[in-house]
């Protein structure tokens, strides 16, 4: 090993990664070859270069041998440079640059046998050594702009926003709909403890509205995203709600005064189960508690118009503002948390389950709304003709685990179906049949909930339902909905007549996910959910620093997991924006700072 008198001093470290690298090429030969390169003063191979003992070895080498550059030949720097860079950073006598060679992904010759792989690895390491020679140790990172944008104000977005705001960051919370709360706002009770959903969500919604560190924008979309040095410049388009948020007191006098005496338009929030006027409050505890006017149905916007009694009723408050226009706001933030949630599976894709054809076929989300005491039915469960159902079928995995629709397991529907089974039985006394493929109840007290339902007398039939139909084989089926299913435990085809069918729908990426992924420059899985580079290592999507994800936009998950992930995303975003040391992770993954340039 030639000890150079002058010039840069380089150390090379080749990782075995257990057998993942050492099993496909000769790591000792790669290290030995590197040792012969100019300016390389130390070259070693190590079982796990990311381990604590390897880091200590590196630090000792840097200090004792006076290294200027470190070349690590291991795996992707996007994933693993991050954890061990801070261990070097600031703890060595001098500044060093770090160069990571990704042997695990960038050595395709691994497939051509060890000899070819070793040759290729030597070339890659040699190239990194030459790159290091052209590099001067120095500071790479400027300050990160304060402030965080949270996109989507369901439970995950609200949770992330509150955590960040409580930590002192200013948060822009942007929601597409007129109210925050997301899907959770529809729920009466949540599994497994059957505690009140509103008791958890409502105070959080109110806190998000009242928090001095949160700027809440509803009816708003992110329209452009640009990267600046240390900041994202984001354009948010605020669509008109035709009611001034600062002036509206939520008194609903405008709703009373509307020329439509009756609420006659299907309400989107309750999936059309409830009716509203053109001017309405999304739901009683909506946040902000500000009325909204729907331009599509309001005749003030139609030719001829109306006398605008809503404006008159608002009087001196002057909140109703039919001339309100679109507003485009530009903000700068250091980090972004995406919490844009999910879209329920569209049941028109499974026409054999009879939704839309038979009136008493409902989706699970419709039933959630019906069970809700402040929902469109006031908590009453009835057939569309008003009668009470005597028997109810709950069909699991509609739009989940199905190669013709969505292949993935939606994770939450087994438990939510069990919850609905319990609540429907309690409310109606009906006989309940669950049709399931596998019962998936992993989680705190989830399996116990399932066992409790078995004891309650809820029926469980294992088999994917073939169809929901109204053709009757005998008088007992006349006028009822018949579930045709192969009972895979009895090995027989069964027909189960019921009065009401609940389709437990799966979770899908939202319609906007594609556009958002493009705007923020992040990846998506083949299923369309936002993708993390490595779900077990980093809570942020690949390719873009400072973007973090939370909740169902990253994949179906229940409330527990969404809230936990929201907290984690907030912590990650906080560390990113406020972090004292770490330079941002770049794809090249190479800059390390040290005390020397801080003094400079």
């Amino acid at each position: 090993m030639p000890e150079e008198e002058s010039g840069p001093r380089i150390g090379v470290y080749v990782c075995h990664c257990g057998s993942r690298i050492a099993g496909t090429l000769d790591v000792q030969a790669v290290a030995a070859n590197a040792a012969r390169l100019p300016h390389v003063v130390v070259a070693r191979d190590h079982a796990h270069i990311c381990s604590d003992r390897a880091i200590r070895l590196l630090r000792r080498d840097i200090d004792e041998r006076g290294l200027d550059h470190v070349v690590v030949a291991s795996c992707s720097p996007l994933l693993r440079e991050h954890p061990f860079r801070p261990l070097l950073d600031g703890r060595t006598a001098g500044p060093v640059t770090l160069h990571v060679v990704n042997l695990r992904d960038h050595d395709p010759s691994r497939h051509d046998g060890p000899a070819a792989a070793t040759t290729r690895a030597e070339a890659l390491v040699g190239a990194a050594v030459r790159r290091a020679l052209g590099e001067m140790p120095g500071r790479a990172r400027g300050p990160i702009h304060p402030g965080v944008l949270v996109v989507g104000a369901g439970i995950a977005g609200i949770e992330a926003a509150l955590t960040l705001a409580d930590s002192g960051q200013h948060v822009y919370l942007v929601e597409r709909l007129p109210t925050i709360g997301g899907h959770m706002a529809a729920f009466e009770k949540i599994f497994p403890a059957l505690d009140c959903a509103a008791c958890i969500l409502t105070p959080k919604m109110a806190a998000a509205r009242a928090h001095p560190n949160i700027t809440l924008w509803t009816c708003s979309d992110v329209t452009t995203v640009d990267r600046e040095d240390g900041a994202y410049r984001v354009q948010v388009t605020r669509r008109p709600r035709y009611v001034n948020e600062e002036r509206c007191t939520g008194c609903l006098e405008c709703v009373e005064a509307c020329v439509y005496a009756d609420a006659r338009f299907p309400d989107k929030f309750t999936l059309g189960l409830g009716m509203r006027k053109p001017v309405y409050m999304p739901f009683p505890d909506a946040v902000p508690n500000v009325a909204v006017i729907d331009r599509e149905t309001c005749i003030a916007f139609a030719p001829g118009g109306c006398e605008r009694p809503c404006v008159a009723a608002c009087g001196e408050r002057g909140a109703v503002d039919l001339a309100q226009g679109e507003e485009v706001v530009t903000i700068r933030v250091g980090a972004v948390v995406l919490a844009t949630g999910f879209r329920p599976f569209d049941v028109s894709r499974t026409p054999f389950y009879g939704y839309g054809m038979y009136p008493n076929v409902y989706t699970s989300l419709e039933v959630e709304h019906m069970l809700n005491g402040s929902g469109p039915t006031g908590g009453a469960i009835g057939l569309r003709d008003g009668h009470a159902p005597r028997s109810i079928a709950i069909v699991h995995c509609v739009g989940s685990r199905d190669i013709t629709t969505n292949r993935w397991c939606s994770r939450v529907c087994c438990m939510s179906s069990l919850k609905l089974a319990h609540l429907l039985r309690a409310r109606t006394g009906a006989e309940i049949f669950n049709f399931y493929i596998d019962m998936r109840t992993p989680g705190p007290a989830f399996e116990e909930f399932y066992q409790a339902l078995l004891k309650e007398g809820v029926h469980f039939i294992r088999g994917r339902v073939a169809e929901v139909t109204d053709w009757a084989l005998d008088p007992s089926e006349e006028g009822r909905l018949v579930i045709r299913v192969e009972d895979t435990l009895l090995a027989t085809v069964r027909r189960v007549p019921v009065d009401m069918v609940v389709l437990s729908v799966g979770l899908e990426p939202t319609a906007e996910a594609d556009e958002l992924a493009r705007l923020f420059g992040i990846g998506r899985s083949p299923d369309g959910f936002f993708l993390e580079p490595h779900p077990k290592l980093v809570g942020k999507p690949g390719g873009t620093d400072g973007i973090f994800v939370a909740g169902c936009c990253e994949g179906p998950k229940d409330l527990n997991d969404s809230i936990a992930q929201a907290g984690a995303a907030a912590a990650d975003a906080l560390a990113f924006v406020e972090g004292a040391g770490d330079p941002p992770l770049s794809a090249a993954g190479k800059i390390l700072r040290g005390p020397r340039d801080d003094r400079a």
Binding site: P351, F352, T469, D470, W471, A472, L473
Partner: protein, 308 residues
């Protein structure tokens, strides 16, 4: 009105009758030729055709089935035809599947190419397989059907029964789960139809001959549901569906105590009738079940010499 936006239909069609239309399904052959004649569309039979490859071939030796089907397509191609009409649903499916698989699987394509080369035939890569229902819906259209109607339908409401193979897995003839084109054509011809939820269910297929109790139970479901929903006849587009429902009615009545006795008509029979076709030319005299109703509707005696 719609004819302006619709491309002009071809001057005639080449069709592949298959064994059914020359045997138990002869009424389908008669009525189809008659109906197309009434619409001014000559229907020419594919020369030198052979077995389509359906029956048990597909289950026992796929290669044989594909090669048999391909030979029919190759003959059509050599004649310069761009499409081949297959009225029997089983023929339609195996021909359509052969075209699909020859593109999707190189191995199937190689087998077909080799066999065609040995027979001195081209590899059939230009022939589109079509079903008469789809031809009537897309090329002829409801407007032209309505304009060609000569007789007022004097019968009762009918159930449109599509069966399985015409709509599954290929959804070109009609929607896989909720086909409606037959209903729409009949509505255009002034024939009332019912909502028939079992319209794509199994007719029993060849089970009526092999495991007869299962097959006939499936027949029974279809007949009962049609009766329950207020239909007086069932209209089909498949010779096997028509055969199963027509032939076994008497036995099902004896076994179950059911009272239905309903005509099982083919789509070209009922359409041909309202378009002015004659009873024998449409094979209507061959009906086995529901003869009394048919006689009443068509104004003719319930003949006994069906297959004379």
């Amino acid at each position: 009105m719609a004819s302006q936006s619709r491309p002009q239909p071809p001057l005639g069609y080449l069709y592949f009758p298959g064994c059914s239309l020359k045997g138990t399904g002869v009424a389908y052959d008669e009525s189809l030729v008659t109906l197309f004649g009434l619409l001014g569309l000559p229907l020419e039979e594919l020369p030198d055709w052979n077995c389509c490859g359906a029956t048990s071939y597909m289950a026992i030796g796929e290669e044989t089935a594909f090669v048999l089907a391909a030979r029919n397509l190759a003959i059509a191609q050599r004649l310069g035809a761009l499409e081949l009409v297959a009225p029997c649903s089983a023929c339609y499916l195996v021909l359509r599947k052969t075209v699909d698989y020859s593109y999707r699987y190189p191995e199937v394509r190689r087998q077909i190419e080799e066999a065609m080369a040995r027979a001195g035939l081209p590899f059939p890569n230009a022939v589109r397989v079509r079903h008469p229902l789809e031809v009537l819906f897309n090329d002829v259209g409801e407007a032209r059907i309505a304009a060609t109607v000569k007789r007022r339908w004097s019968g009762g409401r009918v159930a449109c029964y599509y069966g399985c193979q015409a709509v599954r897995p290929y959804a070109e003839v009609d929607d896989t789960y909720g086909p409606t084109r037959m209903d729409e054509l009949l509505a255009a011809a002034g024939i009332p139809t019912i909502d028939y939820p079992v319209k794509t269910q199994c007719c029993g297929g060849s089970l009526t001959g092999t495991i007869a109790t299962v097959g006939k139970e499936l027949n029974c479901i279809l007949l009962k549901e049609a009766e329950r929903k207020g239909a007086e006849a069932i209209v089909t587009i498949c010779p096997l569906c028509q055969f199963n429902l027509d032939v076994h009615q008497a036995e099902i009545r004896d076994r179950t105590g059911a009272t239905f006795d309903m005509p099982i008509l083919l789509l070209p029979q009922i359409l041909g009738w309202v378009l002015g076709g004659e009873r024998r030319a449409l094979g209507l005299h061959r009906a086995i079940s529901g003869r009394r109703l048919l006689a009443q509707w068509l104004g003719a005696p319930a003949e006994r010499d069906a297959y004379a």
